[in-house]
Amino acid sequence: MRRNGFFSPARISVIAGHTFTQLVRMKVFYFLAVFVILMLAASFFDMPWSRVTEDSAEQELIILKSTAMGAMAMFSALFAIAGTALLIPKDLEDRTLYTILSKPVPRLDYLLGKLAGVLVLIAVSLLLMDALLTVVLHLRAEELLAAEMEKGAKLGWPQQYLDIRRESISQQGVTWDLQAGIAAIFFKATVMASLALLISTFSSSTLFTIVIAVVIYFIGHFTADARNYWLYSQKDGVSGELKILTQGVALIFPDFQLYNIIDASIEGKKIGQGVLARLAILTLFYAGIYSVLAWFTFRKKEF
């Protein structure tokens, strides 16, 4: 007889593969059509003021990146919350959960499989959008660079200034820093998906899960500011208990300001590998905590 371990990566991958197929067959990739339209609009639409300033070429590229990465962040957060919130209640409603849990499937494997399936979907979506952005951005950057060099040659700019302009425009094109920003979008979606998974293990409806997850998503964007403001406003200093309390709140409401490298990458700033690595560890920490809590809720749940 087969022994069933506490945790089986093979079984998790089976559930993840199935979850991915399930979401794909729900035609979620149709959103790519919307993304393509957005990209085309952003790359062909010239702002009336776009060529007024000295760094107009960079501004155009920033607008293009900002549109694309805004859409990426929105779609990935949407998939992370709605996709995850939908899965467990749907399995319960359709009674497919009975047929799965009556097989030798540990509940942890089921949860992690579902989460991994959603994350694979988000990763594939981001890769497709990233590929499209890379192509469009490269073509647009080359075009703007050629125009700028031609303009510089006509106006007789010195070589040194031309090199500065070339570097400045290239930094707004396809760079590894941009890829780091897209990785941060994925990390943020990972946190949201694991949070939605946790909520769905105790919530009674998909709508409740989505609403609570969206609220936490928004709170997560200003939780650090609120905490700092509150801590500095304490005139008598901060006690140890209060610090623990604020740290606890920081766990429930993830601090999404830490993921601000997305904005930095859109602006073409350099992002160190150390920053990305720390963000990856932080994401693992959040996802780990939420998954363990989800398992604690789910392992004794009765159906």
């Binding site: 069933n4 079984r11 030798p104």
Partner: protein
């Protein structure tokens, strides 16, 4: 191919029961009252390997709750459930169980074949083993032709059959069926019952919950009657339904004279009393199945006749395709 893997328990008294439920109590919190609702009240039963056990009772009597406790989907408030000696709350116990829930809905986006593959892989099967088992199961439930069709387009009977196939995909020793023929037409219902009888012959233990008493009577060799969460009667079906002080004799082609002589013999016998005489009746289900079979045969015969007549037409024998030649 039938496999007789397990000896009937009569031959081996030391054998571990397939199902052992000990003083199972399950209570649910009541939303508006302090007291809790007791769905299962001190249920104890044992099912030996190779038996087909039917748990019968009205809706809300605690059948499904007992089943869910056995599957580890519910934790007992008190008592315990064991499957082949393993606590049902442990994942390993489910390696031995195949389960078909009442009105099963599978993932509509998957085809029948994909569904079986998914469940086979969940049970730890890989590669060629999955392929072979899926083929075997599709053949067993006669769904080879519908293997590529999405589950969303399956009829109720087909859903039950694919459900049975998924329950058996990992070759479990115990099959738990919750109302397996609910909502299925008589032909589909008959197919499912034939499958249960076949599984019994293979040595698979079956635990069946139903309120369709006639079907339970047909396939089960042990039954338990559950009412308000309590087992009120349990035992071998033959023992429970036999009327001990009566004897049934069925005679074919008996003349009225023979029947009169039999009655006279009974009248002369000491303590014997004539109770009833008449023609035994078939069931409505058997009548329906016979008629369906006859109509099927008739339709096939007429198809064959039509094909033969078309082939025999003089114009059709011309291979050059000129009917006027």
């Amino acid at each position: 191919m039938p496999r007789y893997r397990y000896l009937p328990y009569q031959f081996n008294m030391e054998v571990t029961p397939a199902v052992q439920i000990n003083h199972l109590v399950k209570e649910f919190p009541s939303p508006f009252r302090k007291s809790r609702v007791r769905a299962v009240d001190d249920v104890s039963l044992a099912i030996m390997p190779g038996e087909v056990y039917g748990l019968i009772g009205p809706n809300g009597s605690g059948k499904s709750t007992t089943m869910k406790a056995l599957l580890g989907l519910l934790a007992p408030t008190r008592g315990s459930c064991h499957v082949f000696g393993k606590n049902s709350m442990k994942t390993d116990s489910r390696q031995e169980i195949g389960f078909l829930p009442e009105n099963p809905y599978f993932y509509k986006h998957l085809s029948g074949e994909e569904t079986l593959r998914f469940y086979a892989k969940l049970c730890g099967m890989r590669g060629k083993e999955v392929q072979n088992r899926v083929e075997e199961m599709l053949e067993m439930v006669s769904l080879q032709d519908a293997r590529k069709r999405r589950i969303g387009g399956y009829s109720k009977g087909m859903l039950q059959r694919i459900g049975l196939a998924q329950a058996l995909i990992h070759d479990p020793r115990l099959l738990i069926l919750d109302e397996p023929t609910a909502g299925v037409d008589p032909i589909g219902s008959r197919q499912i019952r034939d499958l249960i009888v076949d599984l019994k012959a293979r040595g698979v233990t079956v635990f069946l919950c139903s309120h369709l008493l006639e079907q339970v009577q047909e396939v089960c060799d042990h039954v338990g009657i559950i009412f308000n969460g309590k087992i009120v009667k349990e035992g071998r079906l033959e023992d429970l339904i036999a009327i001990e002080d009566q004897t049934e004799v069925v005679i074919r082609n008996a003349s009225s004279r023979t029947l009169a002589r039999i009655r006279a013999v009974i009248a002369d016998a000491e303590n014997a009393e004539f109770v009833r005489m008449g023609k035994p009746k078939t069931t409505l289900e058997r009548l329906f199945l016979d008629e369906a079979r006859k109509s099927d045969a008739l339709a096939n015969a007429s198809d064959h006749a039509e094909t033969a007549a078309t082939a025999a037409k003089p114009g059709n024998t011309n291979e050059q395709g000129d009917p006027h030649a």
